[in-house]
């Protein structure tokens, strides 16, 4: 059974359906990149996967022991966050919030897991720093560590390299690939950056208010769709 299965799902708002015809699987160990232009339904799909929005029709199922609240989510940063007085450790530890259930305080185990995830991403030394004083790349790593605190299996990344300089973006891609290949985490990444998507991911889901393509990256680069979007560059 796949971690996530979409069966002819359609998602939308009051005004109407935003994206339809979603039929794909995400299996353990996959690195799926969701691409498409602005307004193609990428953000709506994220809400659907996180169960913040139920499908208008069809189904989105989680399986293989994955609970919907066990998706490690890396949202896009809001303007308010960039200016938020929070310590890095406080932010990372908040990834454990759903594990506590009704209990109000974090346990020693929670703190240990938060520390481990900081080390895992190579930012253990930033533990006591102030979040807003970190560089963009470091902030993303801190939020990624928080996401890891919430999951053992699947990470859902929303435009993780948006606003990062090319070097920081490359480092983050390397880190994500390491998590995927060495630590066996399944990755679902939403991205604008089709070129990197093709380089990084094992599978591609291309949206344009409906599902335009789903399959392996090798198959994707041979399609006319990919050739058009990649501009006849390395994909051709």
């Amino acid at each position: 059974m796949a971690l996530i299965t979409c069966r002819e799902a359609a998602l939308g708002y009051d005004a109407g359906v935003v994206v339809s015809g979603l039929a794909f699987d995400v299996n353990a160990g996959d690195y799926l990149c969701v691409v498409g232009e602005n307004g193609s339904g990428k953000s709506t799909l994220i809400k659907g996967l996180l169960r913040l929005k139920s499908p208008v029709s069809g189904e989105i199922l989680t399986g293989d022991g994955l609970k919907p609240t066990e998706i490690g989510y890396l949202p896009q940063q809001s303007a308010a966050q960039k200016d938020f007085p929070a310590g890095v450790f406080e932010v990372v530890l908040s990834g454990r919030q759903s594990k506590r259930g009704p209990r109000p305080f974090y346990t020693r185990a929670d703190r240990r897991i938060a520390l481990e995830n900081l080390e895992r991403l190579g930012i253990g030394h930033l533990k006591n720093r102030c979040y807003r004083e970190l560089s963009g790349g470091q902030q993303q790593r801190a939020l990624l560590a928080r996401a890891l605190c919430a999951t053992e299996k699947l990470l859902l990344l929303d435009e993780p390299v948006a606003g990062l300089d090319p070097l920081a973006a490359r480092e983050l891609y390397t880190l994500i690939r390491m998590l995927n290949q060495q630590q066996g985490l399944t990755i679902v990444m939403v991205s604008h950056d089709l070129r990197s998507a093709v380089e990084q991911a094992t599978h591609i889901l291309h949206l344009g208010n409906r599902q335009l393509f789903f399959g392996s990256t090798e198959a994707y680069v041979k399609t006319d769709l990919a050739k058009t979007f990649l501009g006849g560059g390395q994909g051709a």
Partner: protein, 276 residues
Amino acid sequence: MLDILAEMLSYALLVRAMTVGLLVSLCAALLGVSLVLKRYSMIGDGLSHVGFGALAIATAMGMAPLAVSIPVVVLAAFLLLRISENSKIKGDAAIALISTSALAIGVIVISVTTGMNTDVCNYMFGSILSLSHADVRLSVRLSVVVLALFILFYNKIFAVTFDETFSRAVGTKAGMYNMLLAMLTAITIVLGMRMMGAMLISALIIFPALTSMRICKRFKTVVLCSAIVSVTCFFIGIVLSYWYSLPTGASVVAVNIAAFILFSLTGLLKGGLKRT
């Protein structure tokens, strides 16, 4: 200094005012950090105006002021929260609409019943003479409840304040915590309103948070620092108001302004030293 304090403590009235004031300052400071960071500062201001209207109506009808105002203001808090989360209506405009409406109704009710006298002035700018024994008991109980709930849900409040989207994604009921925050704020505002005045109570919520954010860099230290700043400022404010016969609410706000300037300068100085 000590003899002024001893003199103040010999008046039962002042002791009551200080007890309630210190507790309300503490609650307001804790809640204020979240409200300011969530960009909800205007809700606090809106609620105090609604509180003014409710207070005026309660007095006109001869009912217990706190018992009427608390439910009305809590209700208004939920309403304002819904409005500010609903992107179809412009949140800040809606808040202004509700708060001025409540203010207008309050003023009309007062002028029809008791006439525009010192009562209005007391509601607007506060008076420490307004606290009865029953009020003090209720205030102390409710403040303790607000404090207990804040401590109990501290981690969740931080999580929801920092990143509501993430919290929702991992299954935290963010909406519920927003409601809790709004409810606690409403209670705190009503409790502090008659001493601080409807026009000035929101300062108690906003100032300590902003002041401590000038120099503190972690959520926990911001919360603790603003609690200390708020209580200290209230204490200095009430002593000054007694000594120089100034209005209490305004004195407390003035001390808060001074603290804000002091912390801002310290923050700038620290930042400047780091950069060079």
